[in-house]
Symmetry: C2
Subunit: 487 residues, 2 copies
């Protein structure tokens, strides 16, 4: 208890944040982990299916005190678990103080945790990828760990952490397995949006708002998209291909649409990871990439660079042109979730999830946002998902299974959201109850609070982390009142 | 609101119970129902599987007031849903006062709701029978009904009812789908026991305690089992076959064991349905069958009837000897759950569930109970389940998935238990929190409170029903505070 008080005093007195590890951005001081594997049932809900797969999980127990250390559990989301280990420094900043055991299980069908290796993404094998199966994996693993480490509920409460879809999973774990997870920090978790309860134009409107904070930026972006539109209308795909230095020139409307999607994606990513320092989370980006991009665009055009070339220069902040040209078909892949498309296995799995349990229908209209009209609605999603994955979208399922807006009965969850994050309007922004607490980070982008402390952190994220620590301490103290039972 | 106050006044002033329907036992006044069917996904958790099946559900809307009537939802359990409609009169006693819509969905793989018809029980088809799939069926159906009837959360809160395994499901629905179910009456729901958290000798010890309330009964039962044991030791299966009037004589230790199980089962059933009036729920039995059986046993032996014949006479209270003999192989089938074995499809499904998610390992030792030693433990269960269903028992799953003893985060559940019910020690007998309320019925057997009001009801069940109504009103009033939103 005393150590927690010290921690809070430290935080409140200076609000300088925790400085146990600096320079998180280069992963230089990221703590080591042990890589372990556990056998999980492929199908937790069909007991006739005895097949198992190897789930990877990362563990650090160097600070763990079995007598009263909690378990810090990161709810692995849509990617290689090591990348989340390298981008969730907040947990390592506070784990030594809490003397916590740190566990990062990998989400099934991502990273190394592929039930059927590279053929996991075949239509007849992908069906075991679901939010429910994943949560069951986590519940079973955590129960196993409490046996292996001889943990008890009183001394070693489990706190879930997660960002984005991982934050959604952390919250859901508290909804569905409060017997196992004592509390959850759900950072940037757009739970309402993914349950299909947000307008489809919300996301890109908020991307636009981010860029609109920079003087003169949005009008130039609109001007650039207009210039593209004019060229396309005249069939001048050659001009566009040259101006944007495309490795593979476009020659028709479909190619033009792909160029627009690639361009729009640059704004999406910069808005999402608008961090106050250089970071390489969704691409190598400079500090405050939105400001950086806008200033460059304004400066370029002021210098007389034509608008299309200036626009290409903006894209090159995110995209590599190592071959002296841009491969827009490699750098952006059309998929079910227009905000997150990529190459490789992880992108395939995410695409399947965006067709099943995560509603991510976002579109632009050029009115409430600065982008060209690119329609995407439930009907188009349904067509795409049937064609690509052979699945009929079960539209109502997510809000039935994961409670939609009716989450009042849950307890011990922090929903944190940064106002720079275009996802923030998709989640709870005010307290739902005394123990469903909303934390707002005025100058924060996508789950900035989960990242390690940095000298450039704005005050608002330091305060957010303080509030989160306060809640975590509350959850741990709550556990102390219970007998020392197994989970 | 006023009508509820009237209801409570009525109940508290007289405590005579609700007399809207009498003579429930003969089903004479059981309200009518509409039989409806809905398409349900066979696999709610694998979106690649688009197969559906027809789930039956029964509806009565004759009293329903859409403006403020709740939905009374019975969580169908292991049998034909019509049999539960005919044995859950409490809901019909109060539904007119609450102006409730009454819905009884049938549990998948029971009654008519067989996904693959008669071949549903093949090893390659049974795997879609699970508690999780069943709960998803209910959640999806209830969401569909709110659309069909244009219900909203404020005006039409859904209250779940269930007895025994149905009570477990009602409670679980509130654990996992509190967005849909506002409160649950879980009658005689041994949630701890089925999660594997009770000693294997508990159940039959409580059966013994029931019979021990009748003077002179247990010593005679022990004497009778001893006499059987003596005959068996001498290999005198002929004597046993004659005394028990077996249609098919037994001739070896296996046959003898089956006779013992058949005999023990008579006690099990009589203890479970030790109701204050004749009932035909798990067999046609007289009022207070435990007392009836004991008095007959005592009288028979007092009259000089030999102990084995007296014992056979006791069994005949439950079992039919229409062919002038007892077919013990038809009247009792050995299975995974030694407390509930029978013939037919429903029994097959229950057997599978007892091998998967419902731990029902009960055994007798002749010390803490009055029965011969019949061992049954996890190891024997595992062997049986592997042999019969080809499933490896996942022993820890039920307490991981359904919270075991750690249910404190749930709200709005009444756990009612009758002290005559041998299952009562398997569930919560004291309040877990302000809104997880234990109701004890001193003179009640297995979910007597869910049955319709009867002139012979003991005072304790009338009080229990009053307490339950009080909670239901509380849940409905809670819903009134919310906006009129969809589920």
């Amino acid at each position: 208890m005393i150590k927690y008080i010290l921690l809070v005093v430290l935080l409140t007195s200076s609000l300088e944040g925790l400085k146990l590890h600096k320079k998180r951005t280069n992963f230089e001081n990221v703590p080591k982990f042990k890589t372990l594997y556990t056998d999980q049932y492929l199908d937790h809900f069909n007991k006739r299916d005895d097949r198992t797969y190897k789930q990877r999980f990362l563990v650090n127990d160097e600070w763990f005190n079995p007598n009263d250390g909690p378990v810090f559990f990161y709810a692995g989301n849509e990617g290689d678990i090591e990348s989340f280990w390298n981008n969730t420094g907040f947990m390592f900043d506070i784990a030594p103080v809490f003397q916590a055991l740190v566990v990062f299980p990998e989400h099934r069908y991502y990273g190394e945790s592929l039930p059927f290796g590279d053929s996991s993404f075949d239509q007849d094998k992908i069906g075991f990828l679901s939010v429910e199966q994943t949560m069951a994996d986590y519940a079973v693993l955590l129960t196993k760990l409490q046996q292996d480490y001889n943990l008890c509920r009183k001394k070693n409460p489990i706190i879930a952490f997660g960002g984005s879809y991982g934050g959604i999973l952390a919250a859901y774990m508290r909804y569905k397995y409060p017997n196992i997870v004592r509390g959850a920090l759900a950072a940037s978790a757009p739970i309402y949006l993914t349950a299909g309860l947000a307008p489809s134009t919300l996301f890109f409107q908020d991307v636009t708002n981010d860029f609109d904070k920079e003087p003169g930026c949005v009008p130039l972006v609109r001007q650039a998209f207009d210039a593209m539109e004019n060229a396309a209308k005249q069939g001048d795909y050659k001009l566009l291909s040259e101006k944007f230095k495309l490795c593979e020139p476009i020659s028709d409307a479909a190619g033009y649409k792909h160029l627009l999607l690639w361009m729009r994606n640059a704004f999406t990513i910069m808005a999402m990871v608008d961090y106050p320092y250089p970071a390489s989370f969704l691409g190598d980006l400079p500090a405050w990439p939105v400001r950086f991009a806008c200033q460059q665009l304004v400066n370029d055009t002021a210098k007389g660079v034509d608008i299309l070339s200036s626009f290409k220069n903006l894209a090159s902040i995110l995209y590599n042109d190592t071959s002296k040209c841009f491969d827009i078909y490699e750098q952006f892949i059309e998929c079910a979730d227009p905000t997150s498309c990529g190459l490789g296995n992880d992108a395939k799995s995410w695409d399947y999830q965006a067709c099943t349990e995560l509603n991510t229908v976002q579109e632009t209209n050029g009115v409430s946002d600065m982008f060209p009209v690119i329609s995407y609605n439930e009907e188009l999603r349904e067509q795409y998902c049937l064609k690509t994955w052979g699945v009929k979208v079960r539209k109502e399922w997510p809000s039935i299974q994961f409670w939609g807006k009716h989450i009042k009965t849950a307890t011990n969850i922090v929903f944190s959201n940064g106002l720079l994050d275009p996802w923030h309007n998709g989640g709870p922004l005010t307290n739902v109850s005394d123990s469903l607490v909303a934390v707002i980070i005025e100058d924060g982008a996508h789950h900035l609070d989960l990242r390690g402390s940095d000298p450039n952190d704005p005050q608002s994220v330091k305060i957010a982390r303080y509030l989160e620590i306060e809640q975590i301490i509350k959850w741990i103290e709550e556990a102390r009142k219970e007998p020392c039972e197994k989970f």
